[in-house]
Amino acid sequence: MAAGPQPTPNSNTSTYAGFGIPLILPAWVIIGFFLVVPVCVMLIYSFLTKEFRGGVIWEFSLAAYDQFFFDRGLFGDEAPKIEWTYISIFWRSIWQAAVATVFCLIIGFPTAWFIATRTGRNRSIWLFLITIPYWVNLLIRTISMKFLIRDNGPMNELMLSSGLISEPIHIINTNLAVQLGLFYSYLPFMVLPIYAAVERYNFALSEAAADLYASRYVTLTQIILPAVKPGIIAGCILVFVPSLGAFLAPDLLGGAKNFMIGSLIEEQFKGAAGNWPFGAAASMILLSMVLVVLTLYARQQTREQG
């Protein structure tokens, strides 16, 4: 209960600062080579001409972007109209990812709160349990989910036999199936950052709020949520961004009708029907959307801290 010494965050910095460059170098090399180079390749490819049966012809072209945004008729000789096909796939992806993020937040926040408020060993056990699904490959987990939620799968059987429902609920190949799949895949990405934020939360603040006549609701919305907001935002980004580009869950659970960006891009690089520049262009459009969101967030953060 006694006051601890004030933390001195920079006391050791100078001692170790000399190691700086060698410490970061391996990460730089890996990121530089395996992230920056592929992104540059994609950027260049998106401005090249497509080769039938895959690959590119080294000739500058805006055709890929043009195909994404404009409809010029079957033979390409009509006046350009807005092409809604791909925009609506993007829009649906954003919507699916957003719903999955909200699901994750609604379920993940209480979970994170629960774990962070356990003591000692219990906490480690709960955290360990969260990571268990990651021992199994995502593909296998998604396939088992498909099996579970089929019209005559165990979930429906169970609810039918218990009299909860009178006919099977059709989930597979719907938006809901995709959202469930995304939710299931990315829930831990929501739980862990929120857990980290709640763990740092000073519970004396809740007591202070209650002492100053705040109800539980006011304490939650005006004291707790602002304090753990960085964790919530980090969790939302970590769920939303990979959900947006996911292709396993939409492919396996959503069926052909519920096509998402990830599947669209994947298809462009698969087999003879592919269109590499178009796939690259779609990737670039997806990437720029994500960057816009992240930039807005970063700007918001600096404004709050400044």
Binding site: M1, E207, A208, A209, D211, L212, Y213, S215, V218, P226
Partner: protein, 358 residues
């Protein structure tokens, strides 16, 4: 039931259990209206648990907490008309000083303008008007402490609870804030319940002090009463410094007891309630003992150590039976401090000593 108007907080038979551990054991206390009341004790004694029980952060296992005639023991913290100054201040980090202080006022349903005016008042009281727009992270420890105080005072609580609010401040600041707290208490007329483990803090600020140990109230009284007439060995030892001599009590009458010192000398001195014949403790404060020539006085021994304190010197004297006694002497040219190893006699007035029970 005859209602006593000037009791602010009436703690009635309060017991608090954590599983099998008893944190508070049948505590009874009357805290008077407009009083600076201190709960004093070593860490883990239950003083903070008692304060938190009044605030509502702990549910008591048994008993009643009556605040101006109303039993609040079953109310939630946000339903109790008391406010708390927390040990680590617990300022809301995402709100500036004004928003922090205004928080409680808005929860009570005050409109923004009224609340704002009140915030101005309390910030003036704690001399923080110039810092109204600062964030807590931009304030020093002392300033944060004042914000915490202002925030708790703003809703004009019936009772203000202070949980070791000065412990995170450095010594100089602590002494200045002590005086200020006392002035603010007198100015506002709010009953203060102050928790501390620092006896100097307790002695200098309080109207009355409750000494707590082992979840029980050991003694309640003014600083002078507790220092000069401790009820038991714990209080005598915890408040200030004292020498405890093992004695044999032979006779008790009229609040006085006769006893035989280890040296064989006999004295008759005031006795605490509950003192009984047989082995007992005689408490004598270091500043009440005088050093005389070897062979004189009530007990004899050899000076064995000097502890230099600046204005004073503590001389440790090892008695002939091996017990150690500390004598406080003024560090002055007029006073001869015995050399280490020198044989001395020790003398004290019978009224300066006190027979105690365990």
């Amino acid at each position: 039931m005859p209602e006593n108007d000037n009791i602010a907080v009436d703690i009635q038979n309060v017991t608090k259990m954590y599983g099998a551990f008893t944190a508070l054991k049948d505590v009874n206390l009357d805290i008077r209206d407009n009083e600076f009341f201190t709960l004093l004790g070593p860490s883990g004694c239950g003083k903070t648990t008692l304060l938190r029980s009044i605030a509502g952060f702990e549910d008591i296992t048994k008993g009643a907490i009556v605040l101006y005639g109303q039993n609040i023991a079953n109310l939630l913290p946000n339903q109790r008309p008391v406010n708390t100054v927390f040990q680590q201040y617990a300022l809301f980090p995402h709100m500036n000083v004004t928003q922090n202080v205004m928080f409680g006022l808005l929860r009570l349903g005050q409109d923004k303008a009224t609340a704002k005016a009140r915030v101005g008042e309390v910030l003036e009281l704690v001399q923080l008007t110039a810092f109204a727009d600062r964030m807590p992270s931009q304030l020093s420890g002392g300033q944060q402490q004042r914000v915490a105080l202002a925030r708790a005072l703003a809703p004009s609580p019936k009772v203000l609870l202070l949980d070791e609010p000065l412990s995170a401040l450095d010594l100089k600041l602590r002494q200045a804030v002590r005086l200020e707290l006392q002035q603010i208490q007198q100015q506002t007329g709010i009953t203060f319940v102050f928790v501390t483990h620092d006896q100097e803090e307790a002695l200098t600020m309080s109207d009355r002090i409750a000494v707590i140990e082992g979840g029980q109230v050991q003694q309640v009284g003014s600083a002078r009463e507790i220092y000069e007439a401790p009820k038991n060995k714990f209080v005598a030892d915890f408040i200030g410094e004292t020498n405890l001599l093992d004695v044999n009590v032979t006779d008790l009458a009229g609040g006085k007891g006769s006893c035989i010192l280890p040296s064989g000398a006999q004295i008759t001195c005031p006795a605490a309630d509950g003192a009984h014949a047989g082995p007992g403790h005689l408490s004598v404060r270091p500043e009440r003992i005088a050093i005389t020539t070897a062979g004189g006085g009530l007990v004899q021994g050899n000076a064995s150590r000097h502890i230099y304190l600046g204005t004073d010197v503590h001389v440790e004297v090892t008695l002939t039976d091996g017990e150690k006694v500390t004598v406080r002497m003024q560090n002055s040219t007029q006073i001869q401090i015995p050399e280490v190893g020198q044989a001395v006699g020790l003398e004290f007035e019978a009224d300066a000593a006190r027979l105690l029970v365990d």
